[in-house]
Each structure stands twice: as C-alpha cells, then as structure tokens.
C-alpha cells in the first residue's frame, strides 16, 4: 500500500513538472526551425487524383499541378503572357497548323522511394503525356477511367492530328486547323508532363494504375506521403531545374470544415489557409494577412430555354431586369466580388468597355412580363448548387434573394437543391427551369468563357445547361478562333456579348475573388494570377532571431540518400 502511495505522490510531481516543461517547450527555438523550413497549408478538400489531366476540380489542380508538375509553357506576369517553361521556345507556322516546341535539356524528374529516374526529361515524355489523352489505344489511355474532362471540353483530340518527335529535344504538334486557343490550352494546369520512363517501369511491374496515385513529375516538390482526408506531405525536389524551393517541406492539412480552417489559421496551426471565412477577423489581426485575386470566373443565373416559360426571350429579359444584382453581391459575396456586366470578366483583354449592362428595373420587368402574356405572373423553380464555390459562396441565400425580388413582379419561386452529384446529373437531364451555377476558367483565353458555357456543342454534351443554341453566336466564336489578330478577336467577342445581352440565356451575376489567409511570416507569391496556387516562391521569415545559430539535421528522405 505504501508503494502505491509513493507512486501517487511521485506521479503527481512528475506530471506537474512535465506540464510546466511542456508549456515552456512550446517556445523552444528548436521547434521553430523545423517549422521555419516548412509550410502547412490548410486546404479545402482531398484531391481526387494526383494527375490533373484527369480532373477539372480546383482542389485537385491546386494540390498537384504547380507543385508536382510543369507544363510546356506557362502564363507569366500581370498580363498573362505566355512564357517558356519545359519548352525553351516555340514556333508556330504561318498557317497556324504546325507548332514546334524546343525543349529544355536540364530537367530532371523526381526521385522517390518508388521511382529512380535514369535519364533527364526529353521528347518521349511529352509524347507520352499527350498521346495518353489522344490515342484511345494507348496502353495508359484507359488507366484511371479514361476520362480527360478538360481535354474533352476543349475538343483536344479533334484538334490535334498527331505529335511528332523531331529529335530528342524537339516536338511538333500538327493541328487539323488553326486554333488561337491551342497554346493557351497547353499552358493550363491540366497540360502537365508525366514521365515516360516511370510509366514503362509501372507497365513492367503490371501496376499501371499507380501512375496517377504515386505521381512522378518535374515540379518543385515531390510526394512523400498521402493520407486520404487527412494530409498530403511533399518534400522539396532538390534538383529542380529552376533551382530548389526555399522551403523543404510542404504539408497540405486537409480541413474541409471552414470554421476549422479559420481556427487553425488564427491559432497559427497552418501558415496559409484556402478560402477563409470571417474576413474582418483576419484583417484585424496584425500577424495575419488576407489576400485576394480576382479570378477568372463567373457566377450566373441560367434559364432552361427549352422549357416554358423560359423559351420566351421576353420572360428571360423580364426576370433578369427584376433581379437586384448589387444586393446579391453585398449579401452573398459580402462585397468581395465584382458585379458581372457580361459573361466575360472585365479584367480579360477581350472585354469591350462599350458592352451595355442590363440594369435593375422592376417596372420595365413587369411591363415585359405582361407583353409576354404573363401579366398574372407564374410559378417557377430555381435550382441552387448545394456546395460552396468561389463563384457562388452561398447559392441558397442567393436563391432566396432572387425569390424576394421576383415576388415583387408577381412570380412565385420554389427553391430546389440536391446533393451535388445528383444535382449535376438531373441538371444535365434538363429537369430544371432555372439554376444558379458558375464557371471557373482554366486559362485566360476568352474563348474559355464563351464556348464551354453557351455554345451549341456544349448544350449537347458539355456545360451548357441553358440548352440555348444560337447559330450566329457559334459562328462568331468560330471566326474568333480562326484569327490570331487580337483586335479582330475582340470585335467578334464584343458582338457575341451583345447577342447574349439581347437573348439572355443567362444572367451573369458576379466575378468573385479568390481569398487566402496567411501568416505574416510567410513570404512570396502563392496565388497565381488566374486561379491556381504555387508554393515554389514561398519562404518563411524567422520569427525569432536567436534561431539562426542552431544547427539542425536536415530533413532527409531516406529513400533518396
């Protein structure tokens, strides 16, 4: 019994002393230096795959494209001009049908515990990466489902006739027709380069599906560890061709709960947080920064033009006139978005300032309704997306605001929402009358707004849920793609916007900004000018000047040493 007592007593003191030492250890300088060389990013979800070719979800490309891979060319600078990346330079022939890329000769792939490269990047890797998408008989085409949504949406396989290897470091794309958005498509986050050597190894081991699960790329970081729904751990790629990144470790802390992300940011458990809520709370703290970028997206209110009463142009115009967009922007976006004048954001080079905007005019709306034969009003449904998106942070609230606006002109609104995948499926079947949806551009080319959202081809298979099909509009888009002269293209797109304004298949509401919260000790650009994120340029300022002297073991990857 005495022994028991003694234990109790010593335990008591022991615990007290540990507690005290632990509390003080939090400020230990050693800890800082590990966190100083690492970044924790609180991301909003798990990636579906580690190959951005296979998915258009922003979460997936955020976690993979700029971290693990490189594309042949990239967008650089404020004006989004094309710049070399894995291709040193490129050349387009006069007729626009042959595009030749001259590749870099000093690019190495990741070395991990599942793959050790024996050669540098060359033309075979480019051929492999794109033939996988183009060639239905390619051994890797059907691995991981055989769906390449981005490339299908831009009709890549209809555009590219074949890809030729001129020599080890020269590749030529032969196109069926000239297309001014082709280079833009190659510069997206989806057109990344995989390793052909790694694929060959996997084919040999008969584990082809691992290509998209255990990624190998040329990017500044390599995958170390992934736990579904919990974390992604990247290590620095030491022989990155642009020089190694400043941080050694990059951890994605997957926290889908937005309050959780905010808490972690405020408690400094993550250095950078995606899509934060409570913006004032972050701005009022002097150790945190809130940054934003107007992304190329649009949130819109679309009408099913195949269904009554929205097959009538006048009804569409009336409803559009009756909606107070500014109120929506103040409430749903909390003022953190630009009011959409047209489908295309004003930041795009193709935006024509003369494009008129449909205002807020309930009187005129009522007049138009009676002209259309609906003087007594009618009942309609609005389908609101069940998920939070940058282009529409709260669709149900938006639907309620629209409901209140339309009540004033005698239209009764029912709000309908389904679980996300069901929603999309039923939407594609055309069961809706009107819907709240949006679009995030994959690249800054204006065509990326006009064709996928409203063209006839998109109404058959793609994203055009208004089922609106206008031959004149499609012709304009086609002409705009054929020419490479910027001024001409701008004119065509201005005309296209005029048609949308007149026909009103949808009402553009807002172009939202993408927000990000970060600690002030995190330096360097993370948000790319349109959409994506990259951690290559990020570094951390030491919080404590004493730390500099402490020499610590490097974070080492056992497999690579």
């Amino acid at each position: 019994m005495a022994v028991l007592m003694m234990n109790c007593k010593t335990l008591y003191y022991l615990t007290i002393t540990t507690l005290v030492s632990v509390l003080t250890a939090c400020n230990d300088s050693d800890k800082l230096s590990l966190s100083e060389r690492s970044i924790i990013y609180c991301s909003e979800g798990s990636p579906e795959t580690f190959n951005p070719q296979l998915s258009t979800s922003g979460t997936t490309s955020d976690a993979t494209s700029k971290q693990l891979y490189n594309a042949l060319i990239v967008y650089k600078g404020k004006n989004n001009t094309l710049a070399p990346s894995l291709a040193r330079s490129w050349h387009v022939t006069e007729d626009g049908k042959k595009v030749t890329f001259y590749l870099r000769k000093d690019v190495s792939f990741h070395q991990t515990n599942y793959f050790t490269p024996t050669r540098l990047f060359n033309a075979d890797d480019v051929l492999f990466s794109f033939n996988r998408i183009l060639d239905n008989n390619h051994p890797f085409h059907n691995v991981s489902g055989g769906q390449y949504p981005f490339f299908e949406s831009v009709r890549f396989s209809e555009l590219v006739e074949k890809i030729e290897k001129i020599n080890d470091f020269t590749v030529r794309f032969i196109l069926k027709r000239s297309d001014s958005s082709f280079l833009a498509n190659l510069a997206t986050d989806f057109s990344i380069i995989l390793s052909a050597e790694y694929a060959k190894q996997l084919q040999h081991q008969q584990t082809k599906h691992e290509l998209d699960i255990f990624p190998i790329g040329t990017g500044p970081f390599k995958l170390k560890d992934y736990r579904v729904g919990s974390l992604i751990r990247f290590y620095r790629h030491d022989s990155y061709w642009q020089g190694k990144a400043k941080i050694e470790q990059l951890v994605y802390d997957i926290s889908p709960e937005k309050r959780n992300r905010l808490t972690k940011l405020l408690a400094k458990e993550c250095d950078v947080s995606s899509y934060p809520i409570a913006h004032e709370k972050i701005t009022e703290r002097d150790d945190l920064t809130l940054e934003s970028i107007t992304s190329l997206n649009v949130g819109y209110f679309g009408f099913n033009t195949q269904k009554k009463p929205f097959d009538n142009k006048l009804v569409r115009q009336a409803i559009s006139l009756a909606i107070n967009k500014q109120a929506i922007i103040d409430t749903v976006y909390q003022g953190q978005a630009a009011r959409a004048k047209s489908l295309l954001p004003e930041t795009s080079w193709a935006f024509d300032n003369k494009t008129p905007e449909l205002g807020y005019d309930p009187q005129k709306a009522k007049a138009l309704l009676s002209l259309a034969g609906y003087a007594q009003g009618f009942t309609m449904d609005i389908w609101a997306i069940p998920v939070q998106r940058a282009y529409n942070p709260n669709a149900v609230t938006m639907a309620k605001l629209i409901q209140a606006d339309l009540r004033k002109i005698g239209v009764t609104v029912k709000i309908i929402t389904y679980e996300w995948s069901t929603f999309l499926r039923r939407l594609s079947l055309g069961e809706h009358q009107s819907f709240l949806l949006g679009w995030t551009a994959d690249h800054p080319d204006p065509d990326n707004f006009f064709t996928p959202i409203l063209s006839c081809s998109a109404s058959e298979s793609g994203n055009n849920r208004t089922f609106w099909c206008n031959k004149e509009y499609d012709k304009l888009l086609e002409k705009a793609l054929k020419t490479t002269r910027v001024k001409e293209r701008k004119e065509y797109y201005a005309k296209a916007m005029m048609i949308i304004n007149e026909e009103m298949p949808l009402l553009p509401i807002a172009h939202s900004k993408r927000f990000q919260g970060r600690g002030n000790d995190v330096k360097g650009n993370i948000l790319e000018s349109f959409g994506g994120i990259s951690f290559y340029n990020v570094s951390k300022k030491p919080l404590n000047s004493k730390v500099g002297n402490v020499i610590l073991p490097e974070i080492t990857d056992k497999a690579s040493n």
Binding site: K31, S35, D225, V251, T263, E269
Partner: protein, 342 residues
C-alpha cells in the same frame, strides 16, 4: 480468487453475447439489405453478393445467421466501411489507440486534480474551503463539454495563442504508426526531431484532456470527499488519534490509503463517462480518434461502421470495468466475496 475470476469471465461472455445480438439485430433494423449492412459492401457485384450471402449464411435460419455473424466478428472481420470502403478493422486499429490515449491522460488529470481536492474538502469538513470546493465542483459538473471545448479553443488557442486547437501533433512531424499511442510512437521513432515532437504532442493533448477531465474531476472530488469523511469517522482513526499520532500521520498513513480503495472502484465506472465525453471532445478538437470517426459515420449513415464501432467501444469499456474490478479485488480482499458483478 479463482471463483471471482471465473464469475467475471462468465459475466463478460454473456454481456458480449447480448451486445453481439444487439449489433446483429441492428443490421435488420437499419434500412437497406441486411447482408450489405453486415458487410458494408454497397457496390458489390451480383457474384460478390452471392458469395456474401453464403458467407453470412443468409439462406439459413436466424440462429445460423447469428452464428455466422459472430464467427466473422471473432475472426476480426467487421466488414467494410460503407463510406470509405476500407476494412473497419484497420480503421479501428488506427483510431482506437488515440481515444485510449486521450481518455487515459484525461483520467489521470481528473484523478490528480479531483482526489486531492476532495480530500482537502473532507479534512476541512463544513468549513469555508469545503464549501468553496464543493460549489466549484458543482459548477464544473454543470458546464457542458461541447461549450467548454469551444471556449477553451477561443481563449487558449485563438485569444492567447498558447496551445494548438486541433489534432494530435503538428503535421510537420512524421511519426510512424507502431502502437497507435502517439507518445509511445514518438519515443520509438528515430526522427531527429523526437523531443520537439514529444513536446508538440504534449501541447496538443493539454486542452482536450483538460476539457474531458473536468466533469470526471468534479465527480472524483465528491467521491473522495465522501470516502474521506467516512474514513475519518471510523473508530480506528479515533483510536489512532487517541494514541497521539500527529494529524499528518493520521491522514497520510491511515486515512488516504483507506479512502483511495473506495475510489478505485469508481474509476472504472467513470471511464465509461469519460469515453462518452471524449467522443464529443474529439469532434471539437479534430482528434483522430474513434469517437470522431463514429460521429462522422452516423452523419454519413455508414451503418456497418456504426454497428461495429458501437460493438468495439462497448466491449472496450466493459473490459476496463472488469480490469478495475480485478484491481479493486486485489487491493481489497473483502470485495472478493462479492458474488455478483457490480
């Protein structure tokens, strides 16, 4: 002692029988196909379904079905999680240790705070300090754990920035999963940042453990106070005092030891309460334990996971009860005569 052990074991077997019966019948009560609820294979192909029906003897009588179900469980096959489609066994093995760790630390904190305070209250029976401690205990007992957890995060993580608010350890540290109990895994690992990881893990456990510990601590205060008052009123204490022993000697050598025995009995009972509190706390502090997993499974209508999770948790709590019974019996010979499980 042999008889005592045998009684406890038979009690265990029968309770497990009832528990498995309950979890077996849940498969019938939940919506959907019974065999899919058993196995969690929502995407089973027709041929797989035939195999499953055979494995769970679905074409035979209820009793045979039950036997097949129990034999699956005994061989460690709890089926698949309907949500993640990975074996529930693996998920439980990964998550249960985290809950055990949190509960044990919380229990320790509750005992270290509650028992001494209760003794102090008893020694100063009916004085100001007694009343103060009792009313504090009442207050602490009345605070709901979900509110306290949020408040603790608001004050200590966001406001003061002293302690982290979520998770078991900073994600920067890579600790290999060996036992699942974080502190042991850290000590076993060969990471160069071992001690940083250790202090980081300790900082992470303080808030959730204290939040979980509050309610049990107040119960320990009351239990130990009652036990101490009882012991102090016994004749052997009076005899010791009459012999001229000092106050210190009486308390430390006689009173505390005898009072502690009474309390140990209740530790087991408190553990069930503690695990319940830990489940809610795990959600608030994003603690990767089985409680959070179970609550998520309920939200996702993952019937197989709910069923197996309940079974494993109740089995675990029952084992703790039996263990404390044994400890109590080992310390107090009088209890060994107890014929029925208590």
């Amino acid at each position: 002692m042999l008889k005592f052990t045998f009684r406890r074991l038979s009690l265990f077997v029968f309770t497990m029988l009832v528990l498995t019966l309950l979890s077996f019948s849940l498969s019938f009560l939940f919506p959907g196909d019974t065999v899919i609820n058993h196995s969690g294979q929502i995407n089973a192909t027709p041929t797989e379904l035939v195999q499953l029906n055979k494995a769970y003897q679905m074409d035979k009588g209820l009793f045979t079905q039950y036997v097949a179900y129990v034999s699956h469980i005994l061989s460690g096959d709890f089926g698949q999680s309907m949500a993640s489609q990975s074996p529930i066994r693996d998920e439980i093995i990964e998550l249960l240790p985290a809950t055990i760790e949190l509960s044990l630390v919380a229990l320790l904190v509750a005992m270290l705070i509650g028992i001494p305070l209760g003794f102090i209250a008893a020694i100063n029976h009916n004085k100001v300090s007694d009343n103060a401690i009792l009313s504090m205990a009442m207050l602490g007992y009345s605070i709901p754990v979900f509110w306290l957890g949020l408040l603790a995060i608001l004050v200590f993580s966001i406001g003061l920035g002293w302690l982290p608010s979520a998770g078991q350890i900073s994600l920067l540290f890579e600790i290999e999963l060996v036992t699942g109990i974080q502190f042991i895994d850290i000590l076993l690992s060969d990471s160069p940042y071992k001690w940083q990881a250790f202090s980081d893990a300790s900082a992470h456990i303080i808030l959730p453990a204290c939040v979980v510990a509050l309610a049990p601590a107040t119960i320990f205060i009351r239990l130990s106070r009652a036990a101490m008052i009882e012991v102090l009123a016994t004749s052997y204490i009076r005899a010791a005092r009459a012999k001229g022993l000092s106050f210190k000697q009486i308390i430390f050598r006689h009173a505390i030891r005898n009072a502690l025995i009474q309390i140990i009995r209740h530790v087991g009972l408190q553990f069930a309460n503690l695990v319940t509190l830990a489940m809610v706390t795990e959600v608030i502090f994003s603690w990767p334990g089985i409680g959070r997993w179970l609550i998520e499974s309920i939200a996702q209508r993952d019937y197989t996971a709910i069923q197996s999770g309940l079974l494993v948790l109740s089995c675990f709590i029952f084992i703790i009860h039996i263990l404390t019974d044994f400890i109590y019996a080992a310390l107090n010979p009088l209890a060994r005569g107890n014929k029925y499980g208590s």
